[in-house]
Every structure is written in structure tokens, then in C-alpha cells.
């Protein structure tokens, strides 16, 4: 791979490009940074000149410019530094806003799997943090590096003008402190990171395990083995850190050494020039003392190099997410005119599975027409969810045919399909906003009265009555403030608000007690039959995936899925009569305690 291609494909470069940074603003920030640190260098240089010249006891008036300049640089440094920090943060923040928008837009248009993956683990929180980390590279990495480059070159030029040898020595020391040191620092940090990654994830897993199962571990006496595991992982982490710390220590030593060397070489090279008269004694003070201030510009560079490395890691994750979302984007559908919402969905010999994985269910035949209710049952992990996602057109079917009002769904745009078929996931998101706004996710025009009606319909009337702010009550982050049962009913209410004639609901009764679960399932299976006055909706088709069977008498048809195929189908009564396993399963849960 050529250097150029590598550069083109560098995730940090690509991510920084997505920050969409305004060049003039960036140049302004660099300019202010140069003025700020330049003031510090000028302060040192002029002070050195002032003191050396003063020691020759000239008339005080000849020093007046220098004394004013020293005071002025003493003030300007702080002021310019303040302005520079504001300017650079503004550049970074605008960039981060662009990147966030871009991520959202790309994921909204991209493949569903990458969106579904967002919910898993702490990926989402990481996306948030990763955007910040990419933005940080501007403030802590790129801009300081630019300022250091400008000032480093400027200082070398200045010292060269006074005494060439010293200037060249300074340049070499600056390379040591500004390039070798930061390179070592970044290497140390990345060594630590690489070697400690496994230990860190072990630590996180063990900690999570201990907290999650604290009570069980305490009672069973297994806490001690976990403590040992935690200790061992910590010891591995410590060993990994040590290996990187050696390099970091070297980096730190190099930075200090470079400053000292610059002063020392300046003395050694410039003193003979003073002796032979080619350099004035006053200039000697300047070329020796200025470097002490110049190395302030390289002080932030080790941290900058580490930041570049960290931001690259973050950028790699972000770009991988965006690439995954963009890869194999579905071909543009051939329909451009939006037809009215379809009312029938017919699957024959449908094969369902996540893209890139073996199919989990094949041979599904299903006809959905308004008013019809179907239950998909079977043990967990048999592909019920995948089947619903496929029926909703959210993942492509893997075989067989799926027709929406007679047209293959693959040729229908996602927007149109979503207008006809709506899928409510078991873990569907409840937004951190009011109840009403959450319902409006399904349809923007839901009125307050409609919302109240639909909440009653979903069995949330009593709950709503307890809320002082009614439908305007805010629901906290991911509905943490409501119970599991209320949450499921709210998801159901939201599905009911959708104008789509076909509703697909995944495990609506999971983790509810049997009474509540059966009431909810029965409601759900019968609601399609009556038209809903609140939404002026005519009859709907409903498909429910569940592994609770007792309430399925309300379904027109029950489809039993097992080991990737349809094992039996019929009404609840037919299956009870004909299928012993089904009968046994229902008997196990039939009457309620």
C-alpha cells in the first residue's frame, strides 16, 4: 500500500475531514496561539537583552523601549492565550457538531444492523465520547503542533540571525524535544494501551459480574474467587502499564534534556564568538537565555502526540461504524410515487436471517389482511424476532417472496414500507421526553385527546390518572422512571398511534406477571378487529411474537416455530387438540396463581 493511499485511508484524517473545519477560523486560532507563546519568547529575549545591556550602564533612556516592551509582552501573553483558547475551542466544537450530525444522518440512511448494534453494550456512550475525542485532536493536537512549528521556525531564524551556530544547535534540540520526545511519549502510551486492552476489558467484565451478581456471589461464597480474578487482572494491567511507562519516562527525560542541551550548546558555541569579537556580549545573553523560553512551545507536544493517537483510535471506531452503515446500502427503489398505505402482506416460503449470518427460519407462509391476528410462538432464539424484522422490511428477506399489496417489498422504499408495516421491538426505545412526544414518534399529528384515548386503550388509564402533568410528563433517560409493565404498554400505545395498517409486536409480555401478561396479549390480539375511533383507523392486522401461550385463544392463527421451521399451525383450540407438546406447554402455564 502506498504512503499516499495509507494517508487517504487514515481514519483520523477521514474523521477530521468530516469535522468540516473552517480554514480561516483555524488559521485565526493558530495566529493567536503564535502571538501568545511568541509573547513569552519575546519576553525572555528582550529581558535578556535588557539586563545584559543594563549591566553596561548606558543612559537609562536607551533602555526605555525595552522596559516598555517587557511589560507589554508580560500582559499580551495572557490576553492572547485567552483569545486563542476560545478560538480553538470554537473551531473544535463546530467540528464536533458537524460530525455528530453526519453520524446521525449516515446511520439513519444506512444499514439496519449497524443501527441495531448501537443498542448493544456501551457502544452508544462510546460514540458520544469518540466524537469528543476526535474533536479534542483539534484543540490538543493539531493546533498546538501548528503553533509550535511556526514559533520553532521563527525562533531558530531569530537566533540564527544573531549567531548561526547556536541557531542550528537550537534547531536540533527542538527536533529532539518537539519530535523525538512526543514520538516516544505516543509510543509509550500506545504500548501501554495495546498491552493493557485485554486486562482492561477483563477488569470491566469481572467488576460488572461482581456488581451484577453481588448477592448470589456473597451467599454462595464465590466472591473470594472473583476477588482473586480481579486481583490477577489488575496485576496484568500493572505489568502492561510498566512496559509503556518506561518509554514515557524516556520521553519525559528527553524533553528536559533538550532544554538543558540548548542552553549548554549555546554557551559553548557562542562564548568563543564573544571572545573573538564576532558576537557582542549582550547578544550572548540573548542567544543563551531565549532557548529557556522557546522550549515552552514543545512542552505540550508529547500530550499532543498522545492525543493524536487516542483520537485516531476513536476515529477508527467512528469510521468503522459509518463504513458498516454505508456498506451495501440497499439499491434505490424503483417507485417514486408514494401509493396509499398497503393493507395486505403476503409471505410465501419466506427465509429470514440477519445479513451475513445463517438464516434462522425458513419456509414461513403468512397472509395478513386487515382484522387478522397471528401469534408466532416458540422457544427463545428460534428466529421470531428475525421473522418480524423481515416482515417489516427492516432486514432483507433471504429467500421466498414477500408481497406488500402484491408488490415485492424489496422494490418498495423504506419510508413506504414503514407507512404500511410497523415493527415494535421488545427493547424499543422510549425517548427522554414527554409521553405525548413519545407517541408522536409514531405519527407527528397525534393530538392530546388522541394520546389520552390510546393510552387508555393500552391499559395505561390508571397510570395516566396518577400523573399530575398527564401526557406532558417527562419520561427520564430510556424510561428509567417507569416500570417494566408500563413501559411495554407505552410501546404498545405508540404502535397503536401509527397509521400503519399492519402491526408487528415482539414479546409484548416478557417479564410481566401472568395476569398482566395475558391481559396485554389478549388486548393486543383483539384490537385489530375493532376500528379505533381515536385514530379513525379501520381494522388492522396484528402479528405478535411471544413465548407465553395462555392468552392465544384470541389469535386467529398460532404459528409454532421450532428449530428454524414452522412445526405446527392452527388456532389455539386446534393446536391444543392436535399438538401434544403445545398442550403440555399451555398446561404448564394455564391457570394463573
Amino acid at each position: 500500500m502506498s504512503r499516499w493511499t495509507r494517508w487517504r485511508q487514515d481514519p483520523l484524517r477521514r474523521a477530521v475531514a468530516l469535522l468540516d473545519i473552517d480554514r480561516r477560523h483555524a488559521a485565526g486560532a493558530v495566529g493567536l496561539g503564535v502571538l501568545a507563546l511568541g509573547s513569552a519568547i519575546a519576553l525572555a529575549a528582550v529581558s535578556a537583552w535588557l539586563i545584559a545591556r543594563a549591566s553596561q550602564m548606558p543612559p537609562v533612556l536607551t533602555l526605555s523601549v525595552a522596559t516598555v516592551a517587557v511589560r507589554a509582552f508580560g500582559i499580551s501573553r495572557g490576553v492572547f492565550r485567552y483569545l486563542e483558547r476560545l478560538a480553538s475551542h470554537a473551531v473544535a466544537l463546530r467540528g464536533m457538531a458537524s460530525l455528530r450530525t453526519r453520524i446521525y444522518a449516515d446511520l439513519a440512511a444506512g444499514r439496519i444492523e449497524s443501527v441495531a448494534a448501537l443498542r448493544r453494550g456501551d457502544l452508544l456512550a462510546r460514540v458520544g465520547a469518540d466524537v469528543d475525542t476526535v474533536g479534542d485532536v483539534v484543540v490538543r493536537g493539531l493546533l498546538p503542533a501548528a503553533v509550535a512549528t511556526v514559533l520553532g521556525a521563527g525562533s531558530v531564524a531569530l537566533i540564527c540571525a544573531v549567531h548561526a551556530g547556536t541557531g542550528i544547535a537550537l534547531a536540533l534540540c527542538l527536533v529532539l524535544a518537539g519530535i523525538v520526545g512526543p514520538w516516544l511519549a505516543a509510543r509509550g502510551a500506545s504500548t501501554t494501551e495495546k498491552r493493557s486492552a485485554q486486562a482492561r476489558s477483563d477488569l470491566a467484565a469481572i467488576s460488572l459480574d461482581i456488581i451484577d451478581n453481588a448477592a448470589a456471589l456473597t451467599v454462595s461464597g464465590m466472591l473470594e474467587t472473583r476477588r482473586k480474578a480481579l486481583r490477577e487482572a489488575d496485576a496484568r494491567l500493572a505489568a502492561a502499564t510498566d512496559s509503556g511507562a518506561r518509554t514515557s519516562g524516556l520521553a519525559s527525560a528527553v524533553a528536559v534534556l533538550a532544554t538543558g542541551l540548548a542552553v549548554l550548546t549555546a554557551l559553548v558555541l557562542a562564548i568563543p564568538s564573544v571572545t573573538n569579537g564576532s558576537l557582542s556580549p549582550v547578544s550572548l545573553a540573548v542567544v543563551v537565555l531565549t532557548p529557556l523560553a522557546v522550549f515552552e512551545i514543545t512542552q505540550v507536544l508529547p500530550a499532543a502526540a498522545i492525543q493524536v493517537h487516542r483520537s485516531r483510535e476513536a476515529a477508527t471506531r467512528i469510521m468503522a461504524l459509518l463504513d458498516a452503515a454505508a456498506a451495501g446500502e440497499p439499491a434505490a427503489p424503483d417507485d417514486t410515487v408514494a401509493p396509499p398505505a398497503a393493507t395486505s402482506l403476503v409471505a410465501s416460503g419466506l427465509v429470514c436471517g440477519w445479513p451475513g449470518q445463517p438464516p434462522t427460519l425458513s419456509g414461513l407462509d403468512l397472509t395478513l389482511t386487515p382484522g387478522r391476528s397471528v401469534a408466532l410462538v416458540g422457544p427463545s432464539g428460534t428466529g421470531k424476532t428475525t421473522a418480524l424484522l423481515t416482515l417489516a422490511g427492516l432486514i432483507p428477506s433471504r429467500g421466498g417472496s414477500l408481497l406488500l399489496d402484491g408488490r415485492p417489498t424489496a422494490r418498495i422504499s423504506h419510508d413506504q414500507a414503514a407507512g404500511s408495516v410497523v415493527f415494535t421491538a421488545e427493547d424499543a426505545h422510549v425517548f427522554n421526553t414527554s409521553i405525548l412526544e413519545n407517541l408522536r414518534v409514531a405519527r407527528g399529528s397525534v393530538t392530546e385527546a388522541e394520546a389520552v384515548g390510546v393510552l387508555h386503550r393500552a391499559g395505561l388509564g390508571g397510570w395516566l390518572a396518577q400523573l399530575p402533568e398527564g401526557v406532558h410528563t417527562r419520561l427520564g433517560a430510556d424510561a428509567s422512571s417507569i416500570s417494566g409493565g408500563e413501559r411495554r404498554r407505552l410501546l404498545l400505545a405508540r404502535a397503536l398511534c401509527s397509521p400503519a395498517p399492519i402491526l408487528l409486536v415482539d414479546e409484548p409480555a416478557e417479564h410481566l406477571d401472568p395476569v398482566t401478561a395475558d391481559a396485554l396479549l389478549t388486548d393486543l390480539l383483539t384490537l385489530g378487529k375493532s376500528s379505533l375511533e381515536a385514530t379513525t383507523q379501520s381494522q388492522r392486522a396484528v402479528v405478535v411474537a411471544t413465548h407465553r401461550l395462555s392468552a392465544l385463544a384470541a389469535a386467529d392463527e398460532v404459528i409454532v416455530i421450532d428449530s428454524g421451521v414452522v412445526r405446527a399451525r392452527g388456532t389455539h383450540a386446534e393446536l391444543l387438540a392436535a399438538d401434544p407438546a403445545y398442550r403440555q406447554a399451555v398446561a404448564g402455564e394455564d391457570q394463573l396463581v
Partner: protein, 556 residues
């Protein structure tokens, strides 16, 4: 918020050695900084004033080279040990926090503190690293280099020392003033920023849901607006927040400038010598350097201090008292709920409310009641994992509160709604006593009863499949079967099953029933939290758990 909390030294042993070492390095650094300044001045002054040659000052340059080398070495060592110590301090605190949280029990963890502790243990405490590696050394340099350099300046030129002495107290004073002015403002702003950031993440989290409704495109504009609002509000915070930094820079740089001008003017009049002047000029910035670095590192360190504070909060939490009396033999002792009431957190309810019942040895007892009536809470009280608000749990005549918990727990096999498995193979998870593993025959029979044989048949290496941390790779239901089999194979007199059918598929209920029967035959006591009728029918005794509203507790 203290810059160096004594609790850190108390709780984290590795921090003590690190602070000592860093202080020692600080003292050496102070000596080297002063030596460097004096040597530079001593090498320069004779050349400028008296036309000395390189040969005349060669000795001083040699010393200077030695000082430079020594500073590099000290700096390198400091950095190297800082990383090392930081990892150890974080590890030490992490272990203490996690174990303390586990000891504090399920009620404490479920009050939202559990997720806090997890965040703290996995990520939060790592924020201590910049604090320990960057901030703390500067703090210690500020109490070593700064005063030492100042004393030397005083010895050289008292007027410069006076300027510095006057400005140094101004630095923290202005920082505090500016800080107080900005604090309330910043806190409000930080809240706004956090909310804006959370809204974007909320939209991303709900993207799958939005797509299901075909409404994912609209919020793009919203995300853009939120981003702009975030930028605006952050910038207005920064405009104020950076003020303290500006004050710091202004004061320190300006006073160095004033020192330089002062020296210059006195040199002209011959009041001080050039060597003195140069030494003060080089030393003056060094006096301020640690203070300035503290300012630079301050924001990076606050997260670390906050994380440490949160860790201390957990560690300061009082542990529930454990008794000292050894538990009686549960194979012969009845356990009694004696007017047990527990206030449900966050709800205006008592669940269970005034529960009185006895569990007799050798019987199968079902705990029934609607969702939220306090069945699982009653089990936690029986296990001694939470303290009842009213009433008590007794074993025979002994109050559970007086009993040594470890002797209590060793007699109980408990299957919570989610089981934890020890790391290792399935076989190891099943063996109660690794020294006396059950025979293959007993094992096979137990696995057949619980349906674990089916699960094991599908595992790549059968019984010898490693389960990974916390039984990862097995579903909740499969883990339940492993735990159920282990309970069956164990010898604890009391087996407590919490909703054993909740995660199994309905078909597997007969397996649970068979297992309970087997336990009964073995003469073991079974307490089962039951929803399903089949389980209740199987029980010898049924205990009904009821909840009540909080008012009833006041009157009772």
C-alpha cells in the same frame, strides 16, 4: 474538594509510597533548578562583564552539564514511577470499591448505586491517572521548588523576592475569586450542556425505533440544531471558565516582566551585580512554573478528584452489621418470618407487609403473591441481605441479625432470577466440593432431571466447556439449569428458588418440578417463589405475601 485528600492516602496504600517518592523527587528537582540557574548566571556574567573565555568558565559548564543530565534522569524516573503508581492506586481503589459495593448488598446496589459503581470501576477511576501522573507532582513541586527558589531569590535580591512574594498569594486569591464568580454560572451551563449532549445520544439510541416508524430523517435537522446550541452554550461557559486561566497567566508573566525591568533599572545604577541579576531572571519563572502547571492541569484533574471522591463515598458507607453467633443446623431448625415488613424504595408501598410464617425443615414451601408484593424481598431478608424495616427473620429462637452470615449462607443454595456461575468448566460449576466430585451416574441423573443434559449436548466440549466470565455464552435459562443442577448435587439443607420458570421456556417446567421433587425426597427444605399453579400444587405449604401502602405501616 481538596487538592490532595488525606483519604486517598488512607484508602490507597500505593498512593502513600508514591507521594513520598514524588516529594523526594520534588526536593531534588528544587535543588537542581536552583543550581542550574546559578550556574547559567555564573557562566554568562564573567563573559559579558569581564571578557572571560570559554576556558575560564569551563568548570561551571561541566557542572551545568551534570545538572542538566541529573534533571533529565529525575524527570524520567518521576514520569516512569508516576504511571506505575497510578495504575496501582487505581487498581487498589477499584478492588476496594467493587468488593465494598458487593458487601453493601442488593438493596443498596439497586438504588441506582450499582450502575454508578460499575461506571466508576470500569471507567471513572481511570480519571485518577491524569490526576496522579500530571497534577499531583506539580502540586508537590509547588511546595518544594516554589518556596526553595523564592528563598534563593530572597538571598540574591530582596526587592525581586518582594515582588514575587506579593504576587504569589494573588494567584490563588484571584483564582478563587474568579472561580466563585463562575461556579454557579458554570454549573448551570454544564447541566444545559449535558442535557443537549444526552438528547443527541437519545436520538441515536432511538434510531432503530425511529426507523421502524419510518421517521428517522426528520431528526437530522434536530441533531444539527442541538449541535449548534451545544456549541453556543459551551462557548459561553468557556468564555467565563478560561478567565481564571487568563488571570493566572497575566499575574505570573507580568510579575516576571516586572522583576526583569526592576533588575534592569537597578543594574544601570550599579545597585546589583550582573550575575545576581541573571540568576534572578532565570529563577523567577521557575518560582511560578509549578503554580502555572497546576492551573494547566487543573481541569484534567477535577475528574480524577471527583472519581476519587465518589470512591470514598462508597468506601465510607457503613456495612450492614453481621452477627457473631454460628447459625444453627438448618436441617433441623425452622425459619420464621416474624411480622416482616420492608418499605419498597421509590414506591409508597410496604412489600412484604407484616409477613408472618414458618418454614419447617424438609418441606417444600411456595411463596406466592402478585407482582410487586415482595416475594423476592422476603427471600432477600431471609438470606440476611437486607435489614427489615419492621419485624425479623428467626432461625429457631435466634434473630438472624445476631447470626454470623457466612455460617448461614454456607447452608443455603440460592438460585436468584439470574444466576452467577464460577469461571471454569460446566463440570467445575456443578461440583460443590471439587475434592469429592459426584459420580458420572449421579451427575447424569441430575442433569437429566433439570434438562441440563440437552444444553450440555449442544456445547462444543460438553461438560468440559469453559463458561467464561460469569457464564458468558450461556443464556439466562441455560445458566439457571446449571445452577439448578448444582443445587441438586449440593448438600445445603435449604434450597431457595426465585421464580425458577421465569426464564425457562414453558416446556421446561416439568424439569423444575421433577428437580423439586428430588430435593424433597432427599429431605432438603425448598423455598420456591412461584407464579405458576403447577409449582404451587407441588408445595407442602403455601405462604402468601401481601403488600400494603405505607400508611398502613404507620398505623400497624
Amino acid at each position: 474538594m481538596k487538592p490532595l485528600d488525606p483519604k486517598l492516602l488512607r484508602y490507597a496504600a500505593p498512593a502513600r509510597g508514591y507521594v513520598l517518592l514524588t516529594t523526594a523527587f520534588g526536593i531534588i528537582t528544587a535543588a537542581l533548578v536552583i543550581a542550574q540557574a546559578l550556574l547559567i548566571a555564573a557562566a554568562l556574567a564573567p563573559v559579558i562583564s569581564d571578557g572571560a573565555t570559554l576556558r575560564d568558565v569551563a568548570g561551571r559548564l561541566g557542572w551545568l552539564a551534570a545538572v542538566v543530565a541529573a534533571r533529565a534522569v529525575v524527570n524520567g524516573l518521576q514520569e516512569r514511577f508516576a504511571h506505575r503508581a497510578a495504575t496501582r492506586v487505581v487498581a487498589d481503589l477499584r478492588e476496594k470499591v467493587v468488593l465494598r459495593a458487593a458487601e453493601l448488598g442488593p438493596r443498596w446496589l439497586s438504588s441506582g448505586r450499582g450502575t454508578d459503581v460499575v461506571t466508576l470501576a470500569t471507567r471513572g477511576l481511570d480519571d485518577l491517572e491524569p490526576y496522579l501522573v500530571r497534577y499531583l507532582p506539580q502540586l508537590l513541586l509547588a511546595v518544594t521548588v516554589t518556596p526553595a527558589a523564592l528563598v534563593v531569590v530572597l538571598g540574591l535580591d530582596w526587592i525581586s523576592a518582594l515582588i514575587i512574594t506579593v504576587t504569589i498569594p494573588l494567584v490563588p486569591l484571584f483564582m478563587i475569586l474568579v472561580g466563585q464568580l463562575t461556579q454557579s454560572y458554570s454549573q448551570h451551563r454544564l447541566l444545559v450542556m449535558a442535557r443537549l449532549g444526552a438528547q443527541v445520544l437519545d436520538l441515536l439510541a432511538g434510531l432503530a425505533t425511529l426507523r421502524a416508524f419510518g421517521r428517522e430523517k426528520g431528526p437530522v435537522a434536530r441533531v444539527r440544531e442541538l449541535g449548534e446550541a451545544y456549541t453556543r452554550s459551551t462557548m459561553s461557559t468557556l468564555r467565563v471558565a478560561f478567565l481564571s486561566g487568563m488571570v493566572l497567566e497575566l499575574l505570573t508573566t507580568l510579575s516576571v516582566a516586572l522583576v526583569a525591568v526592576g533588575i534592569g533599572l537597578r543594574l544601570v545604577h550599579g545597585d546589583i551585580g550582573l550575575e545576581t541579576g541573571l540568576a534572578v531572571l532565570v529563577l523567577a519563572p521557575e518560582v511560578y512554573l509549578p503554580i502555572r502547571q497546576i492551573g494547566v492541569q487543573f481541569h484534567a484533574s477535577t475528574d480524577g478528584i471527583t472519581a476519587a471522591q465518589r470512591a470514598f463515598d462508597v468506601l465510607d458507607e457503613a456495612l450492614p452489621m453481621s452477627g457473631t453467633i454460628p447459625a444453627p443446623d438448618l436441617a433441623r431448625t425452622p425459619i420464621t418470618f416474624d411480622g416482616l415488613s420492608v418499605v419498597a424504595p421509590g414506591r409508597l408501598a410496604v412489600a412484604p407487609s407484616n409477613l408472618s410464617a414458618t418454614i419447617h425443615p424438609g418441606r417444600v414451601v411456595a411463596l406466592v403473591g402478585p407482582s410487586g408484593s415482595g416475594k423476592s424481598t422476603a427471600v432477600l431478608a431471609l438470606l440476611g441481605l437486607l435489614t427489615p424495616d419492621e419485624g425479623r427473620v428467626r432461625a429457631g429462637d435466634l434473630d438472624l441479625a445476631t447470626i454470623d452470615r457466612s455460617t448461614w449462607w454456607s447452608q443455603i443454595a440460592w438460585l436468584p432470577q439470574r444466576s452467577a456461575l464460577p469461571p471454569g468448566t460446566v463440570r467445575e460449576a456443578l461440583a460443590a466440593d471439587p475434592l469429592a466430585p459426584p459420580s458420572e451416574e449421579v451427575l447424569a441423573r441430575a442433569m437429566r432431571l433439570t434438562g441440563l443434559d440437552d444444553v450440555v449436548a449442544h456445547l462444543p466440549r460438553g461438560l468440559d466447556t469453559a463458561l467464561g466470565q460469569g457464564g458468558l455464552g450461556l443464556s439466562v435459562g441455560q445458566r439457571q439449569r446449571v445452577a439448578l443442577t448444582a443445587a441438586l448435587l449440593g448438600d445445603q439443607p435449604l434450597v431457595v428458588l426465585d421464580e425458577p420458570t421465569a426464564h425457562l421456556d414453558a416446556l421446561a417446567e416439568d424439569q423444575v418440578l421433577a428437580t423439586i421433587n428430588e430435593l424433597r425426597v432427599a429431605g432438603r427444605t425448598v423455598l420456591v417463589v412461584a407464579h405458576r399453579p403447577a409449582l404451587v400444587a407441588l408445595a407442602d405449604d403455601v405462604i402468601e405475601v401481601r403488600s400494603a401502602s405505607t400508611e398502613s405501616m404507620v398505623t400497624s
